[in-house]
Amino acid sequence: MARLIRPGPLHLPFEWLVALRFLREGRMQTFLILAGVTGGVAVVIFLTQLINQLQGTIIDKVLGSQAHVVIKPLDDLTRRALPADAPVAATVQPRAQRLRPLDQWEAVARLAEATPNVVAVSPVASGPAFAIRGGANKSVALIGMIPEQYRRVVKMDDYMTQGRFDVSGTNALIGVDLAKDLGVGLGDKLRVLAADGRDETLTVTGLFDMGSRDINRRWVFITLKLAQTLLDLPGSVSNIDLTVTDIFVADQVAARLGNQTGLTVESWMLTNSGLLTALTNQSVSNNLIRTFVILIVALGISSVLVVSVVQKQKEIGILRAMGTSRQRILTVFLLQGGIVGAIGSVAGTALAFGLLHLFSHIYKAPDGSQLFSAQLDPMLALAACGLATAVGVAAAALPARRASRLDPVQAIRV
């Protein structure tokens, strides 16, 4: 006898077979909850990706030219303990033009290097000077640093328009705007004049554009050694810049180092508290929206499945009468929630990707560059799918419990 044995859906485990069949049978309802999950997941992914990217762009812009954490000497006024009977005039006696050095900076730098979450440490000696070329005379800031260490704090290599980010001897790197103002180019000489008449003739070996006119006009990178000489900071530095693993732990690192050294340690979060507040508010509202979307989707799944349980009362009773345990009826309905969550989230991910693509073409920065890319973080997509599946199962819990507690006799009695 020729057997009609087909592979396919029949060879699924009982719970899967029934769950899938119930979903297929409830066409309109299944379609509705699938649409709900798809929309919800798309909104969550789209919003998260958008905000992450925009925040990333803003943070990159802000932190691109600035260290996450800066160690500085204490403010003179707060440090100088005056005898109570000292004449008042002494307190206002200024140490004119004298830079406050960070003494024993090597020890502080070593301590910073050993601090958890710190990935880069760069000592900097900086101070004011004049740049002179012919008749032109510009006020600049000398930044003395060690390129190998500084480039790990500020991504200078990305900003160089000419030359490499490297200095030695009396070489200097200047901003594109200062170069224009003074009319100098690569290989040209430039005289700098610091306090007390200390001066040096520098050779321009590179130009940078850090995206800020002010910086491009004022900053002049030279070697740490040369800056120490010009700024009268023998053997010491004016501050130590740090990079941390996660920018949002910067304040913790700063607080820890502040306590350990007794120095002034500032994080970018303190110096940009306005931006930080804006970012935090944005994240809070994003989380709020996400939470509501997830809740609404969960409620949608739940209510549709509750209706489905009522409609399937008879089938559930028949299955129970044929020897299906309460536990398995429970599983059948939990599975329906999970399946809808999983399928809907895959569709939602695709939809979010499409939306990102569309929006990245529609909305552009004023200069025509893309505000954000259509890229989808695979971890985010994976997390969203996992979450949607879990939410589907959780949302099915109540209807599933109801189904499992149905009295088979009530369903079967006509």
Partner: protein
């Protein structure tokens, strides 16, 4: 005189034994009513018994108790010698799936599944997954009830008589030792009713399943090994 006798012992060891079964509904409420007032009944293996009685006398209630879908308020109920009133829901469900087949008045097929899948369902429930063996058995059963070519059809595409045949095939798919049928021919025409009855009689002979069939039809009752009558919750001769 009670219709329960030990004279059925010659039909084999009892597959079913009821002692002093009582069933009340709405316990603890003002509408508390006792539907069954102490039922004693023994059903021998391979026996084919008709259960008759006026509407509302408690036939379906009794069948649901025997089918382990409900639990008695009082009394002892043994299936193949095992006391069932001490079992929890999970154990009752397992025993039901293993030992008992149901045929209801309104067939109660699963509309989302094909006839073949409906017939396979008890086996799928029992084994957790469809096996080739179960498929083959289901196809044999469908052929035996005269529906060899209709396996792929959904219940909605079949006539009432055909649906009831599928229901019988389904009830037999796990070789149950006890087949319970609650007015299986109640809403069928005489000719179809005869066919369905003959089908059950056939499986009773071929496979040895004991059958307890609720019927109002005296013609069919007369063709059973034994007739018991339920009146107002009590068995009479």
């Amino acid at each position: 005189m009670t219709p329960d006798t030990t004279a059925t012992a010659d039909a084999g060891a009892p597959i079913l034994e009821l002692r002093g079964i009582r069933k009340s509904y709405g316990i603890g409420t003002p509408v508390e009513t006792e539907v069954l007032h102490g039922i004693d009944l023994t059903l021998g293996e391979h026996e084919f018994v008709a259960l008759t009685g006026p509407s509302g006398s408690g036939k379906s209630t009794l069948l649901n108790l025997i089918g382990l879908l409900e639990t008695p308020t009082q009394g002892a109920l043994r299936i193949a010698g095992d006391e069932t009133t001490v079992l929890d829901d999970a154990a009752l469900t397992r025993l039901r799936g293993r030992a008992i087949g149901f045929v209801f008045q309104f067939h109660h097929l699963l509309p989302a599944f094909s006839a073949l899948e409906n017939v396979m369902m008890p086996a799928i429930i029992h084994q957790g997954i469809a096996t080739d063996e179960a498929t083959a058995r289901a196809e044999e059963l469908l052929a035996a009830v005269g529906l060899a070519g209709a396996g792929h059809k959904k219940p909605g595409e079949l006539s009432g008589g055909m649906q009831q045949r599928v229901a019988i095939a389904r009830a037999l798919s796990t070789h149950p030792r006890l087949l319970l049928a609650d007015e299986p021919t109640g809403n069928l025409d005489t000719k179809t009713a005869d066919d369905i009855f003959e089908l059950m009689r056939h499986f009773n002979r071929e496979q040895g399943s004991a059958c307890l069939i609720v019927t109002h039809d005296p013609r069919l009752a007369a063709r059973c090994d034994r007739v018991i009558e339920l009146v107002d919750g009590r068995l009479t001769a």
